[in-house]
């Protein structure tokens, strides 16, 4: 059974005329790194907020480990399983000291003090912020703040971590810090990660890529599969990796090239192969 499953989910914000989610079906498996890509207003944040019962569907169902998000008695069961990191790090840090902030969620869950201490230290080490545990959050850089926010969620020991555009307000270095941190959590700790973004390059390493547009899921697949459909991506106004674009243009010129090369090396290899073939014939 999938760890998160959306079935025909419809949602309209109160007072809005347009539907924000128009019949979304999505299955996310345990341990997967799922990237969700889309423009502003494509419904990707709305999708994220359905994953920990901040929003519940108007119709259709959202199941988190089999728990229906509409079951109000189980809201906390869902929220302790699904940690959520938001865009603005300043607005999700609740304490004046890093470690006190990380302790916030386990304190809310009523975890005994000694165990909170252990969880906080472990969480801070996992995101590489242990040395900063007694610092004031407002003196940290954006990337560091966001890592503290991730630690604050890990301390809850969730199975899934949903990040709603965590890199939108960060500089390139901060984006790299956040992306590598969550990638490590997924690959080494087996956490399920849902990473929402509008930066195409942050999706390349994902297991599964979801393209959203106007409340619909346009495509689901591996990044290589999705990016290979250059026409679809162009229709959605989304960019594809430079390598894919190069191969696509070369193909248009009549060269036989695969489109699934997402990094420079495999792209160079593909072109070299084609060149060899050409010289042989």
């Amino acid at each position: 059974m999938s760890i998160i499953s959306f079935r025909q989910v419809h949602y309209t914000y109160p007072g809005d005329e347009l539907e924000s989610l128009c019949g979304v079906d999505l299955e996310i498996e345990e341990g997967e790194f799922v990237a969700v890509l889309g423009h502003n207003g494509s419904g990707k944040s709305t999708l994220a907020k359905h994953m920990n019962a901040i929003l519940v569907p108007d119709s259709g169902t959202v199941l988190i480990e089999g728990i229906d998000s509409r079951d109000e008695d189980k809201t906390f069961e869902i929220r302790r399983r699904v940690g959520m990191v938001f865009q603005n790090p300043d607005n999700q840090i609740v304490a004046n000291v890093v470690e006190d902030d990380v302790a916030f969620a386990p304190e809310n869950l009523g975890v005994p003090s000694e165990e909170i201490r252990a969880r906080v230290d472990a969480a801070l080490k996992q995101v590489g912020m242990y040395e900063y545990r007694t610092h004031a959050p407002h003196l940290l850089s954006g990337g560091q703040k966001q890592r503290v926010a991730i630690a604050g969620v890990i301390a809850m020991q969730p199975k899934i971590i949903v990040l709603d555009e965590p890199t939108a307000m960060l500089d390139p270095q901060g984006r790299e810090e956040v992306l590598s941190t969550v990638t490590r959590l997924c690959r080494e700790k087996g956490m399920t990660v849902v990473f929402i973004t509008h930066h195409m390059d942050e999706c390349v390493g994902a297991d599964k890529l979801v393209i959203m547009s106007n409340g619909y899921i346009k495509a689901v697949g591996t990044p290589a599969e999705i990016f290979a459909d250059v026409e679809m991506m162009a229709r959605e106004g989304l960019s594809v990796p430079e390598t894919t674009k190069l191969l696509y243009e070369l193909r248009n010129l009549g060269y036989e090239l695969p489109l699934d090369a997402l990094d420079e090396q495999s792209c160079a290899a593909a072109i070299a192969n084609a060149m060899k073939k050409q010289t042989r014939s």
Binding site: R79, D90, N96, F104, P106, N108, V111, S113, H138
Partner: protein, 265 residues
Amino acid sequence: MLKDVTLGQYFPGNTIVHRLDPRSKLILVVLYIAGLFQASGWISYAAVTAVTALCMILSHIKPKNIFKGLKPMLFIIVLTALLNMFYTSGREIIPGWHMTWEGLARSVQMILRIVLLITGTFLLTYTTSPIALTDGLEMLLGPLKKIKVPVHEMTIMMSMALRFIPTLIEETDKIMSAQKARGADFETGRLTERARALLPILVPLFVSAFRRADELAVAMESRCYHGGEGRTRMKVLRFAARDWIALALGALFLAGMIVMKRYGI
């Protein structure tokens, strides 16, 4: 200018004052204020000043930081001093002027009283992290929960407010710079004009504060916040021997001040 705001600031450290339980520090500040208001003669003022100085030395707080905190109060301090100087009857210093020796003495005492009062409370906030402070307050006021006073809600509001002071100051700075870049003028003009010039700062600041509050609430809920019930603490407050000693000394201080008032010194 905004960088100088010292409200709710905390200077981390590991002195005996820092290590005291926040609850005992809160009680001590109450005892200190009560004692301070007993002071009437020069000797008792000297005693309070000495105690304050001792606490400052023990807590390694630099006088510079205290002065920084006093700066916004300067106007009130000077005003009270002047009023006391001129409106106390007695022997005139310069004949024909309304300034009297008694008034001078009284205004010096008044300045001392205000400065010591502020210094004492600053010592509390400078040496206690806001979280510890609100935790201590919540526990001290705990019994009020029985009569339905929302103690937890009040203290969490307080700690959130303290948490967002630096963030909002930063934001105010940013908005001010943005308005200045568009030609806004905050420094010249009459008082009413300057007050009006603040409006374009306050409106965006409030709008963003509300948006922040909204996002913060969602983030808190996402981390399973559901009020004070069933909540535990990472840092459990425990009274140590030093706390009992400090409280005993605090009580002794108050008693001493009351005795001194009796003898009018």
